[in-house]
């Protein structure tokens, strides 16, 4: 029994140690990033009612934001949608649906936005490699490929939120504090 366990441990070590070394080597070659600093590509977008960020990172990536707090060794893609919290109570539901459909995200300058103190209402994650999670949804470890789509609202949020992400990657979003009753 002990011999069998030893063999299993040796097999696991033979698989995981080279995999870990390969990932560490990849990190050394490609670099690493902490939030928006380091070897990462971060782009900002906005539409009438929302902000959006798209981030791609290769190598090591540490995030301290509550939505995706953790460490990824490999490839990480993060798309986050933040509310502007406009409150146009004159808008009817039909108008709001139409506005959301017509209001595409447009790329903006990095300096125009300060999203540090905002919580995203929705986010999309793709991680390839090893990830340590310590975020607002889960804690633990994953290895391999993980795709996660999340919508998360505070219980005291009053209003309407729409998020549409299609298989081709296009995203539409809309937020309103309240709407006119029809």
């Amino acid at each position: 029994m002990n011999l069998s366990n030893e063999n299993n441990n040796k097999c696991l070590a033979a698989v995981f140690i080279p995999a870990l070394l390969t990932l560490l080597l990849t990190t050394l070659v490609t670099g690493c990033a902490i939030n928006d600093k380091g070897f990462t590509q971060l782009r900002y977008f906005e539409n009438a009612t929302s902000y959006m960020t798209k981030q791609n990172t290769w190598g090591g990536f540490i995030s301290t934001h509550s939505s995706d707090r953790g460490f990824t060794l490999g490839y990480a893609e993060r798309i986050k949608v933040y509310p502007k919290m406009t409150n146009n109570a004159q808008l009817t539901l039909d108008q709001f649906l139409q506005q959301t459909d017509n209001s595409d995200f447009v790329e903006s300058s990095t300096k125009e936005m300060d999203l540090e103190n905002l919580q995203p209402f929705a986010w999309f994650e793709k991680s390839q490699g090893i990830t340590l999670h310590a975020n607002s949804l889960k804690i633990g470890l994953s290895a391999g490929v993980e795709v996660r789509n999340v919508l998360r609202l505070l219980p005291d949020f009053e209003g309407v939120f729409i998020i549409n992400r299609d298989p081709d990657g296009s995203i539409k979003a809309g937020v309103q504090g309240s709407l006119q009753q029809q």
Partner: protein, 138 residues
């Protein structure tokens, strides 16, 4: 491994308690290994291989109170790891109460969320794997 999961679950319990603190909709797909514990609930998750999970959590406003007012329509379609459609309409508070009482408005929202289609699948030629949900909670 069980001991590790118990420890993780206990830490989660200490951190968050037993109740959901946010309104949450999640669709997640894993290929590989995952050992995690939810921080919104006290559940754990261990995956080795391929797994897909879709769930929603509706919190109470306060302890011993009803769930928050919510009118929501969701349309989630997934095929493989990359082809995922994630569409949600969520309204809360007084707006949710108004919307939940009007069938025409609900039908309009459903049509909008489904992109004007009768069902949730993004293309007519694509295989159907749909999940639709309507929650009216007061």
């Amino acid at each position: 491994m069980k001991i590790l999961l118990l420890k993780v679950g206990f830490i989660c319990l200490l951190l968050t308690g037993c109740q959901a603190t946010h309104l949450v909709y999640v669709h997640t797909t894993t290929l590989g290994l995952e050992v995690t514990a939810s921080t919104e609930t006290t559940s754990g998750r261990m995956v080795f291989g391929y797994d897909r999970d879709t769930f929603a959590l509706v919190p109470r406003k306060k302890d011993n109170e009803d769930a928050m007012s919510l009118a929501a329509i969701s349309c989630i379609y997934a095929r493989g790891l990359n082809e995922v459609q994630f569409r949600h309409f969520v309204s809360t508070g007084k707006t949710a109460i108004d919307i939940a009482q009007d069938r025409e408005i609900l039908a309009d929202i459903k049509s909008s969320i489904q992109g004007g289609s009768d069902n949730c699948s993004p293309g007519e030629t694509q295989a159907s794997n749909t999940s639709q949900k309507t929650n009216d909670t007061k």
